[in-house]
Symmetry: C2
Subunit: 186 residues, 2 copies
Amino acid sequence: MTTRTVPGPRERLLTAAKELTYAQGIGVGVDALLKRANVARRSLYEHFGGKDGLITEVLRVSADEDEAAYRQAMRAAGDDPRGRLLAVFDWLDGVIQEPDFRGCRYLAAELALAPDHPGHAVTRRYRERVHDLLEAELRALDHPRPEPAAEQLLLLIDGALAVGATRPGTHPAAAARLLADQVIGG
Amino acid sequence: MTTRTVPGPRERLLTAAKELTYAQGIGVGVDALLKRANVARRSLYEHFGGKDGLITEVLRVSADEDEAAYRQAMRAAGDDPRGRLLAVFDWLDGVIQEPDFRGCRYLAAELALAPDHPGHAVTRRYRERVHDLLEAELRALDHPRPEPAAEQLLLLIDGALAVGATRPGTHPAAAARLLADQVIGG
DNA sequence: GACCATATAGACCGGTCGATCTACTGGTCA
DNA sequence: TGACCAGTAGATCGACCGGTCTATATGGTC
């Protein structure tokens, strides 16, 4: 059996770290993670080799989930590429409004992790994946300059997440959506 | 004499902390700050009451300097409000290209500081100051909706700084400038 | 020359960090 | 039954954390 009926220590540690590192930042202590996950200290080092390995793995699975969330938001919007792109900003608006929204996990990691931390590679790859997702839709729209336009959309997304993190209660994604509309063109 | 010919411990500590907290994050150790500033341990606690006080003061003087930099970039652009606003993005492009650019200091602080840290008040006030600066120019332009437009410009600035931090070598401020042009209107 | 505020140097405090280690537990399977 | 193994529990390690302390040096003012 590779599937478990109950989450094992590895999975408990991953979800606990995903939650705590987002809520309290990368600097959370190992003890807090172990306590939250109800996992023995040793298991962490068996499964992940250390805190850095755990953080990196958290970023990796989060990136997979978040990319899936982008795809899902676009899939739910139908077949029109323009509507699919705008739907991303509608979805983001909801994300930012969630009471425990704390900004972009990957930007926070980029700013807080040591320059040689293996997590950086994960966050950069995630960023490229989202970029390519956007660019593909723009190409489907026959956008004249899909690559720089995707870059602009990414900038709008980052801006909305940053403003949302620093000014709770506002609707930066709605403001970004208006600009995205112009980027997409028509 | 209130002015010194040579910077005193307080000033040395401030500049050292300004540099190190930006380069290595808020999490730098007190020892590293003291060593960099060539200042006795006790002086830190005499002048700032502790690390939190020093960090807060660093944010305060940085905010003053950065607001002055915004004003200077606009002043150098002349009298036309439209040109003054676009000049902000030209200036930002240069800032982002600097080899030691590491993203927005205030966003990093917002993400890394404990929720009850006094530094938060400083960063929020700084954000409002920039916002008001932009809004004033938009009013001078008789922009129909100066407040939400200022919010959008702020979003573009944050987005450019975020992309600049995560994708060195690109020119996000140039991409943001194109969108800013549309926000400002004609 | 005496005085005092300011700064320096650095030992020292309790606490926490990430990491390693031993000893024990419960279930699996030959 | 007994070997095996992943997981648990927790003591312990050295390093570092922010903060307090004493002792000493310096430089300006009466």
